[in-house]
């Protein structure tokens, strides 16, 4: 008996390795090796000689910013750009989470057929081209756009949205919203309703169930969602160009600008630093959440 079990174990272990093998090869070839190229470009100059110049430039380059009162102020160019990108991305992510969680929850509690319909409804807008969607938002948000026409029609004062942070955030939220909802939904749909009943039977209030049972159990989905919204919104440049009236210069714009200026090495350096920082953030977040998840269970 013992022998068969250990043989099974071996078999299983082998099967798992087989399952992982193709991906490992793929990851090495198409994820890690290109990364080596990025690093290589980041740490070399135009003649492919080793240099730390580009990385140093990211941290030390300064420029003068003139405040609204006309006073000049020295700032670290790329750190400021990075900070601004991060700020907008975090705001968008928080909004996606705050508005996406209830929808995912409603979806998960609905009848199976309704769930499928919901899912499709959420995905359909994403199948229209991203560039075209952003154009449509321009038409809506302009000073003389659809939204303001609507406000005028119901005798409300118009608002200036296009070219503000709000417009950029709306664009980001819109484009990445489904990437928040889907992982949340797929976790919440698997929650055992009996667990919720049990918690309620044991005297938990509706809110308490949500806070003590549903939320902790859904944390892996929350992390997935945050990752999938936060990261692409940090490096986007199209949304900020179209909806930000070209007045927002984000880290994605900086990378694209360097590339257009025929400066691939510095573009690679910015990307390299960005990547390290983001990977660190993700790692820390996962660790913290992991502890909570395990503690919660």
């Amino acid at each position: 008996m013992r022998e068969t079990v250990s043989r099974d174990r071996k078999l299983v272990a082998r099967a798992d390795r087989v399952a992982l093998a193709p991906y490992t090869v793929w990851a090495v070839l198409f994820i890690l090796v290109p990364l080596v190229f990025v690093a290589y470009y980041a740490f070399t100059d135009n003649n492919f000689q080793f240099t730390l110049e580009h990385v140093k430039r990211f941290f030390t380059a300064t420029s003068t910013v003139i405040g609204s009162d006309g006073s000049a102020q020295e700032v670290r160019t790329y750190l400021l750009i990075f900070w601004r990108s991060l700020k907008l991305a975090v705001i968008s992510t928080v909004i996606c989470l705050a508005f996406g969680y209830p929808i995912a929850y409603i979806m998960a509690r609905a009848a199976p057929r309704v769930q499928r319909t919901f899912m499709t409804i959420i995905m359909i807008p994403m199948w229209m081209n991203f560039l075209i969607r952003t154009y449509a938002w321009m038409t809506i948000l302009q000073d003389k756009g659809i939204f303001n026409n609507f406000l005028t029609a119901i005798h409300l004062p118009t608002v200036h949205i296009i070219g503000t942070e709000a417009a950029v955030v709306i664009g980001m939220v819109y484009d990445y919203f489904p990437y928040m909802i889907l992982p949340l939904y797929s976790i919440l749909a698997k929650l055992d309703p009996k667990l919720l009943e049990a918690a309620r039977d044991l005297g938990c209030s509706g809110w308490g169930v949500l806070k003590r049972v549903v939320w902790p159990l859904s944390l892996p989905g929350v992390i997935s969602g945050i990752t999938m919204v936060l990261i692409p919104s940090i490096s986007t440049f199209y949304i900020s160009q179209k909806l930000g009236d070209g007045k927002f210069f984000l880290i994605g714009d900086a990378i694209e600008g360097q590339y257009v200026a025929n400066n691939l090495h510095f573009a690679a350096a910015i990307a390299f630093v960005l990547m390290i920082v983001l990977l660190l953030c993700m790692g820390i977040m996962r660790k913290l959440a992991g502890r909570r998840v395990e503690g919660g269970l």
Binding site: P102, I106, M128, Y135, I162, S186, P232
Partner: protein, 651 residues
């Protein structure tokens, strides 16, 4: 659902579908604006159905998205199962980190780094052109994988780990345990992953852009390349059709669900009796998906494998050739027919588009593609020539070159007329809304700095053109290598910044047409496109400031070309009367071909005003051009300009 949940859901759906509603409405616009509705018409749908290039791109996009999503879902699900079972914590952490990388990298970097890899691999294998459909597929699978894994992993963690073990204890092989126990458990995650992968692949343009080879153009690339001449409601019409196609599929699916639900019940009852290892239904589903995947691959192979006839690979700006829309000449198709009639051999033209000189340069520089013809702007031609990336033309094959007037020859970027044949040229002018701007304020660059119109002014959202406006205004040489002069220009742009409503490229069309802004600088020909679409309250006018930007886009043969003579025949064809006129009428830029600008038909078609603006009478054209056109800046100055631009933009 409780009422509050209903209201909430409705609001979210409203948010999700507001832009879709806009697409729908504007796809029926009779004008060419995306924000000024001039009347109902089916015009753009008719245009779309005649646009074989766009429909071809749609087909390519679907093939790619289907194959990439299916393959990445299979690979990703297997990977997730493997990762989940990893015993060592550090291994698991390592795998998770690697998985995150493609998501963390900005698209542009993933695209470029994969391109570098493919080029490198191509050289190792001794291939001339390393980018093709397969590299694009690999790239798409790579960026889809993390999304699939991130969907499946949480499901696996949520699952009771003893389930598969129990199955195996009861005699299942690991594979069967996976298929019968694990897979159904994690199915929602797998499906979500599949849908996400499909969606991502469908929408990606940056990564596709860098990993695409000759002639395989997807829809997002095509649309992105249109940003030189802006997007038309035709694309909205396409989006609307896609929308209704999906809706129809959904309805059919729902109807079929009714049936399968009943079938499933019967199935369950039957299975209880028979205890078959794999139910007929599951078998059918499995067979269906395998067949589906096979069909897709077959399609792909048939697509990738047809290369018997002569080929000509052309790489041009988006919307920069007469393509048969609006009853115009379909230049490419006509050329193919003409060539076959003339030389008795079939030819296929692979036509792809780019959005900027720099994008095209990167592609050529990588050495991974083999285009036979490109149409860069002047300063880029100078750079390409300096870097030995162009082939000298054999003018014996281009007799029609005689129609290019003397004053358009020997320009600075190609002083000995070795590498290039001019295609279009143009001058930057200032466009303003006469209903808001006083006539006497117009005339020179000062209008863009006039505080009277604060918040109504548009400036270029690209460093070279924006600095150009300031330098023309200050009477500085736009090609100077004196950094002090660049600093002066920056000061001028800084002073302008509080007055600027927006920094724009092709968004200028929208902004001026709808009256969002009143003043902006752009290319002469594009002014007419805007006038065509302007709102009732807007009256756009145009003038040339005394010193301003001149540009040429010229046909060149890059050194990677494999069909040089064919390309020369094509150049010659483009210079012949019918296609030359058709292109000039389509693009609306000035044409240096005397067959065109002397043609009565052309002059009639364009109208007097357009002729006056597009072809300003200039005896000293060459001098002005050589003095004011952008030239290729040194890397040092380019870098400096970029730094200054960044410091302007972060204010």
């Amino acid at each position: 659902m409780r009422p509050i949940a209903k209201v909430y859901t409705a609001l979210i759906f409203l948010f999700l579908f507001a832009p879709i509603a806009i697409l729908l409405v504007f796809s029926f616009n009779s004008g060419n604006s995306l924000s000024v509705f001039s009347g109902f018409s089916l015009h753009w749908y008719k245009e779309l159905l005649n646009d074989t290039n766009t429909l071809g791109a749609l087909k390519n996009t679907l093939i790619l998205a289907l194959s990439a999503s299916i393959l990445s879902t299979v690979l990703g699900t297997a990977a997730a199962v493997g990762i989940n079972k990893l015993r060592s914590r550090s291994m698991r952490a390592a795998m998770n980190t690697v998985t995150n990388i493609p998501m963390v990298n900005p698209d542009i970097i993933t695209g470029i780094s994969l391109m570098l890899l493919f080029v490198f691999a191509g050289r190792l294998m001794g291939l001339g052109t390393s980018l093709n459909f397969w590299t694009m597929l690999i790239a798409h699978i790579t960026f889809c994988l993390p999304y699939v894994i991130l969907q499946v992993l949480p499901k696996l963690r949520q699952m009771d780990q003893s389930l598969p073990e129990a199955a195996m204890d009861l005699g299942c092989t690991p594979m069967r345990a996976f298929l019968k126990v694990e897979l159904p458990e994690i199915m929602p995650g797998v499906l979500t992953g599949l849908i996400m992968a499909f969606t991502l692949s469908l929408d990606d343009f940056v990564i596709s852009y860098f990993t695409a080879g000759n002639g395989f153009e997807t829809l997002p690339i095509r649309i992105y390349s249109m940003t030189k001449k802006t997007v038309t409601p035709k694309m909205y019409a396409l989006a609307t059709l896609i929308f209704f196609a999906i809706l129809a599929l959904l309805l059919i699916n729902n109807l079929m669900d009714e049936e399968t639900a009943q079938e499933r019940k019967l199935e369950k009852a039957r299975r209880k009796k028979e205890r078959k290892p794999l139910s007929p239904r599951a078998k059918r589903t499995l067979a269906g998906s395998v067949l589906g995947a096979a069909a897709v691959l077959a399609l792909v192979v048939s697509f990738a494998g047809r290369a018997q006839e002569l080929e000509l690979n052309i790489y041009n700006w988006g919307e920069y050739i007469s393509d048969g829309s609006e009853g115009s000449l379909d230049t490419i198709k006509e050329f193919e027919t003409w060539y076959e009639a003339e030389y008795g051999q079939k030819i296929r033209v692979n036509y792809s588009t780019y959005a900027s000189n720099e994008d095209m340069y990167a592609k050529l520089k990588s050495g991974s593609v083999s285009y036979d013809l490109v149409i860069p702007s002047d300063y880029m031609i100078a750079r390409l020539a300096a870097e030995d990336m162009l082939l000298p033309l054999d003018f014996d094959n281009i007799p029609n070159y005689k129609y290019i007037d003397e004053k358009f020859r020997g320009l600075y970027y190609d002083p000995d007329d070795t590498y290039s044949v001019p295609y279009t040229y143009g001058v930057v002018g200032i466009i303003y809304n006469a209903n808001q701007v006083d006539e006497e304020d117009a005339g020179d660059w000062d209008l863009l700095w006039n505080p009277k119109y604060a918040g109504r002014i548009l400036q270029f959202n690209n460093s070279r053109d924006a600095f150009g406006t300031a330098m023309y205004k200050l009477d500085i040489d736009v090609n100077t290598d004196d950094k002090g002069q660049w600093d002066r220009a920056l000061e001028e742009l800084r002073n302008q910044r509080p007055l600027v409503k927006a920094y724009v490229m092709d968004e200028i069309y929208n902004a001026l047409e709808s009256g969002e802004a009143d003043i902006g600088a752009y290319y002469a020909g594009d002014y007419f496109t805007m006038v065509d679409a302007q709102a009732d309250t807007v009256d756009l006018q145009f003038y040339y400031p005394p010193a301003t930007n001149y540009f040429f886009d010229s046909m060149c043969i890059p050194s990677c070309a494999q069909h040089k003579e064919l390309a020369e025949i094509f150049i010659n064809y483009m210079l012949s009367e019918e296609p030359a006129i058709a292109n000039a009428e389509y693009i609306w830029y000035a044409c240096p071909n005397s067959l065109v600008y002397e043609s009565e038909d052309y002059i009639d078609e364009m109208g007097e005003e357009a002729m006056e603006i597009l072809y300003p009478p200039m005896d000293d054209f060459k001098e002005r051009y050589n003095a004011y056109a952008y030239q290729n800046l040194s890397n040092d100055i380019l870098d400096y300009m970029n730094e200054l631009w960044e410091s302007l933009k972060i204010n």
